[in-house]
Amino acid sequence: MSDVLGLAAQNLLSPMVLFFVLGLIAALSKSDLAVPEAIAKGIALYLMLAIGFKGGVQVALSGVDLRMAGAILGGIALSLIIPVIAFFILRVTSSLSAIDAAATAAHYGSISIVTFIAGTQALQGMKLAFEGYLVAVAASMEAPAIVIALLLARRYSRSADDEPLGRVLREVAGNPSIVMLVGAFVIGWITGARGNDMIKPFIGDLFLGVLCLFLLDMGLIAGRGMREGRRYLTAPVIAFALYMPLISAALALPLALMVGLSAGGAALLMTLAASASYIAVPAAMRLALPQANASIYLTLSLGVTFPFNLMLGIPIYVWIAQAAIGS
């Protein structure tokens, strides 16, 4: 138990988390502190480039094996199963309509790449290695939950539209974050160590500072979300946003063991499963399920689950992965 507390303390006192907390406090205290939209978008692209490229380089250095395919398939399976579980939990425990429950479930089946990046930094701080191809796993987990959520909405609500699934998926696949992440991963894979040497000053030393600035912005966004969106949330729905990540992470652990991931890799797969989307899926839901209340799913994923994972979830997943697999 002292191990997990130590991990949690180490995580909470990292500059990344403290900048996130600063953003939260600034937003909750109604400070005018803001990161301009264009800078925030540029930083997001930079982070996708850096994390995708580094993952590709790692794959180039370590080679490809069957575990990569297994991890990608496992990730897709998680992204298909988690929204179903989330949907029925919400329907049983809360008064959310089928449309709102399905839209929220899509967010929890999909992933947050920033939570993933925070997880990689926490692991590096703990000197725990992880598999570079988890970047590809992350990208593969973005879209399947959207399909499941739309099918659930159609099955359980008469008001759901017959939005063509292929059209929504094409629009999600064109999301700038995914294009940059996957593209940088492939470029890192092709160019390997040589490419890494060439752009290391850009994606190496700068990375943590830029991540701090991005997490400051995320704290501001989460804080504003909490302030403005909380009136749409009931206690059972807020509780869902806190225990659902733990359920999802628990589902990911046996998959990580089956695939043969390292402790760091297992912790990251658990982090991916536990994270909730707040960039690609909200936009997809506005197109495919416009009847759903965006304030509910955005406040839950960004205002409750993201801070939970960043501050407490990640150290818990690392601790469990280490206990199950060893370091």
Binding site: Y278, I279, A283, R286, S295, L298
Partner: protein, 103 residues
């Protein structure tokens, strides 16, 4: 200077919907349009602000078109099925333009 009477259609719509809306406008053979970012506002769904959003889901954009009066009905028929279920404001107003042959 001679002025020409035209119709100005203004559509305030959710940013994720923009590409679909523009595709419909392109199909409707309209000579052009202008897209503007909306900064902040308040409506039936509460207040929103362009700054401080991680996703396009809460952002709004404004699409402005100038068309001849005879094109308004066809254009409305084309875009209404798309925007009827979304957060959107559509207005049509009378305007005067200098170069009437452009619209």
């Amino acid at each position: 200077m001679e002025m020409h009477a035209k119709k100005r259609i203004e559509v305030v719509v959710e940013a994720p919907l923009l590409n679909r809306l523009l595709a419909l406008i392109d199909d409707a053979n309209v000579s052009g349009y202008t897209v503007l970012p909306a900064i902040a506002g308040r409506g039936h769904h509460g207040s929103w602000n362009r700054e401080g959003l991680a996703t396009d889901a809460g952002r709004m954009v404004v699409v402005v078109l100038i068309v001849g009066a005879d094109a308004v009905s066809g254009l409305m028929d084309a875009i209404f099925p798309l925007i009827s279920r979304q957060i959107a404001i559509v207005t049509v107003s009378d305007v005067q333009v200098v170069r009437g042959e452009r619209f």
